[in-house]
Amino acid sequence: MFETVTYEVRGNTAWLTLNRPEKLNAFNAQLNKDVQKAVKEASKDPNIRVIVLTGAGRAFCSGQDLEGVDEQTDLGDVLRTLYNPMVLEIEKCEKPTIAAVNGVAAGAGMSLALACDFRIASEKASFLQAFIHVGLIPDAGNLYFLPRLVGHAKALELAVLGEKIPAEEALRLGLVTRLASADHFLEETAAFAERLASMPTKAIGLIKRNLKASWHENLEEFLERDAQGQRIAGQTEDHREGVEAFLSKRKPVFRGE
């Protein structure tokens, strides 16, 4: 379906695997476009309730492929035409997104992981703000998401010093949701994805929407957003199911409706 991304549906989860292992899944234009299209596809498919992004081979994603980039390249335009639409597609997605960070996530690869809602990291994974080492700044939303995850001071430190962040440290910083063993990485990620896939999908979407809005709305506006969000959630089949299951003391079966 896509040239550089494999797209698999397992149950209610869409698995998007960056598939340029020989290049450590470095971004070329095609990969940018394929990730964007694959996320859009999964967003639209009513059967899909969770999206996992991971990398084939050793790396998650090593960032921009420096082949095809030279002094003539307008980096601003590369971002405007390739990275920004990709990041906005992920941001727009109301379904939970998981970056399954199987190996190194460097440069724009780290940015991609930051754009997701959850990061499950292999013990062997690491993050690297590589940009500063070539005199550039973290891009593709990196500096937008990072301070929201780890705070301003830590974000600045990571971006400026550009030191490798091993998985353990990433966990301590709150950069990743949880660690998974390297040997059972896919199984553990799949278990987490399945757990999310069996939750009330609309409510998750509304939580995402409202949390994002909380960064730029005042309390009064936000409280109105609360009211609207709860009104929407209150009309879902999953809410009805949740209440009914609670009253009859059984486990709810949420269908994402």
């Binding site: 957003r225 609207q228 969000g229 009104r231 929407i232």
Partner: protein, 258 residues
């Protein structure tokens, strides 16, 4: 109500609903649809049951724009002789408040139709825009006029020159819309808003609308004179007597619209 081909109408709870109903072509506005919208609005304007008119689109969006097929082969003379925009002019003479509930796209002619509304409630994912420039034409039903009056010359020219889409949040920022609400609740929220206005004394609403529209187009002096006449006129109404009596007696007024 009447049998319309391109729209659906129903009056309920003081609100006269008009829904654009060509969802298969994203409610592309043709001349017939505009005539029907006008006819429905003029009906509602005379109806005792309706206090507020609500305009929205069925299907995926409010409307993607004008029906290009209808115009593709036109020449200046045929367009002039057709004088198709007179229906649009008459939309501006509707006396009752018109609320537009906008979701998805309101582009080109559809943006102009939205700008004919007095108040706009938009879904958070709504997008407005004038892409006419990309077709080698320009807005012809008030776009360059109403957008400029609303948002000022600077942004109006930018949007009209580039054809760039204006997202709901930006439209809110520039005062083009009244609120942006959750997309799932657009109609519910628009109705909640409309009901508040429908519950107000209708003559006050009527004369306020008239005065505000007058103010847009006239000098301060002229606008003030106009406002004063409308203000004086309301003192012949039963609702003025009832409103002030209720205020003094510390009870809720019961307005009759007379």
């Amino acid at each position: 109500m009447s049998n319309y081909e391109f729209i659906e109408t129903r009056a309920e709870g003081g609100i006269g609903f008009i829904e654009l109903n060509r969802p298969k072509v994203l409610n592309a506005l043709n001349r017939g649809m505009i005539s029907e919208i006008l006819a429905a609005m003029e009906d509602y304007d005379r109806s005792e049951e309706v206090q507020v008119i609500m305009l929205s689109g069925k299907g995926r969006c409010f409307a993607a724009g004008a029906d290009i097929d209808e115009m593709a082969n036109a020449d200046s003379i045929s367009i002039e002789m057709l004088n198709q925009f007179t229906d649009w002019d008459r939309l501006a003479w509707i006396k009752k408040p018109i609320i537009g509930a906008i979701h998805g796209f309101a582009l080109g002619g559809a943006f102009e139709l939205a700008l004919c509304c007095d108040l706009l409630i938009a879904a958070e994912d709504a997008e407005f825009g004038f892409p006419e420039v990309n077709l080698g034409i320009m807005p012809g039903a008030g776009g360059t006029v109403r957008l400029t009056k609303l948002a000022g010359k600077t942004k109006a020219m930018e949007w009209l020159f580039t054809g760039k889409r204006i997202k709901a949040a930006e439209a809110l920022h520039y005062g083009i819309i009244n609120k942006a609400v959750s997309k799932e609740l657009l109609l519910e929220e628009a109705v909640r808003f409309a009901k508040k206005i429908a519950a107000q004394p209708p003559l006050s609403i009527r004369f306020i609308k008239e005065s505000v529209l007058k103010a847009i187009d006239s000098s301060i002096y002229e606008g003030m004179q106009y406002e004063r006449k409308n203000f004086s006129m309301l003192f012949s109404s039963q609702d003025q007597k009832e409103g002030m009596r209720a205020f003094i007696e510390k009870r809720k007024p019961d307005f009759s619209g007379r």
